[in-house]
């Protein structure tokens, strides 16, 4: 039994291991987020955080609630598949910092305590405040040319022109209604193909 005479140091060593493991387990419990491993080897709550990013393109349904006339014209014309924000830009806009609404008392308290991170200017929506937040009216000479300038890389059936030759610099909206661009088609319900030829 002489072999087990000095076995005490092994138990002390084992005890150290057990303590170290418990310390590791407790620290891990605090450090690893609760949602880690919920779906896989990542933080499940990250999915929610990404899903909460603010929306800026509201979708054509939002515009059509108020602008029924334009929606009706567009639905009959060659641009019926072009969504409103494709030309008019996103309905949500960031207010310039100078025009941002005054901060609340609570926000100022946070700033006083040095707790506030620099935030993006607030998002405002044309649909919420239609008078003060207005999308910029696009310049048709630039906007239309972006799609309809002739190029060998574009599909053959897509209506294309050389803007300089076609209009000589006159804005497209002078002759064409952008919501239903085939000339004379504004009131017609049959114009479904082609655009400015």
């Amino acid at each position: 039994m002489n072999g087990l005479k000095d076995v005490g140091h092994l138990f002390r060593f084992l005890g150290l291991f057990v303590i170290a493991f418990l310390v590791f387990w407790v620290i891990r419990g605090f450090v690893v987020p609760k949602s880690f491993g919920e779906y896989g080897h990542y933080r499940g709550a990250a999915i929610t955080e990404i899903a909460n990013h603010p929306i800026k393109f509201a979708g054509h349904q939002a515009c059509e609630q108020c602008h029924t006339d334009e929606a009706a014209t567009k639905a009959k014309g060659a641009h019926k598949h072009v969504n409103c924000e494709a030309c008019h830009g996103a309905i949500y806009q960031r207010l310039p910092a100078a025009e941002a609404p005054p901060e609340s008392l609570y926000q100022r308290m946070l700033a006083f305590a040095g707790l506030r991170l620099p935030a993006d200017p607030p998002l405002v929506r044309h649909a919420d405040d239609p008078m003060s937040v207005t999308p910029v009216k696009p310049d048709s000479a630039v906007l239309c040319a972006r799609c309809h300038t002739a190029s060998a890389a574009k599909p053959k059936e897509f209506p294309q022109v050389d803007p300089a030759e076609h209009s000589g610099g006159v804005p497209c909206a002078t002759c064409h209604n952008p919501h239903s661009p085939v000339i004379g088609s504004d009131t017609s319900a049959t114009a479904t193909t082609g655009g400015a030829k």
Partner: protein, 244 residues
Amino acid sequence: MNISRRHILVLLPAAAVAWKHVLAGTPEDSPNYKMSDHWWGMLIDIPKCIGCGNCVRACQTENDVPDGNFRTWVERYHVSDYHLENPEVISPDGGKEGFPAVKVGDEGKYFFVPKMCNHCSDSPCTQVCPVGATFVAPDGVVLIDPKYCLGCAYCVQACPYGCRYIHPTKKVADKCTLCYHRITKGLTTACCEACPTGARQLADLKNPKDPIHEFLKTHAVQVLKPQMATGAKAFYNGLDGSVR
């Protein structure tokens, strides 16, 4: 730091708000969204793309993408008669402001190819991440957790499609989220919303009513770099053999 009564008064409500964020578990705006009901992808119809750059601009606006980086971009291919294997590819500023005119008399064929994250189901980028910061969500969207990302850029190198970049101010990896904040609320992606020709279509492969199924049956659809077996879910219709 001496904590005065004034500091306590300020800190307590701040702590309460922070705690609310800590406890926040499910997205409040999309209570009916079930991840297990979806498997997202994208259909890109090359013959419909006119290279207007609307998708690139919409993506930058929607996702606050910094200038010079792109979550989606448009390339113009020029396959000349004499260099079938080596097409000339340009993408000035991601195609955001359009493309230079094609020289008169240039032979060969020209076409546009929109590029974006392919949301691979066996994605190389998620496999190399050392900290579990990037992952394939249960609905098939490849996402990045910016709070976990170290910015080591392994994933930027691993992506065979060049879809990732390091955000210049946040110093973490960034890429297309397939507008996750939109699709979980029933909207389509910003690029699809802004595309005037319908060259991009969001596809839900788990939805039996999604037109993608009929389209895949009736068209010759390909993914990029199929030899890499990434399980890419950006489906290209009319893809030329010269596209890399």
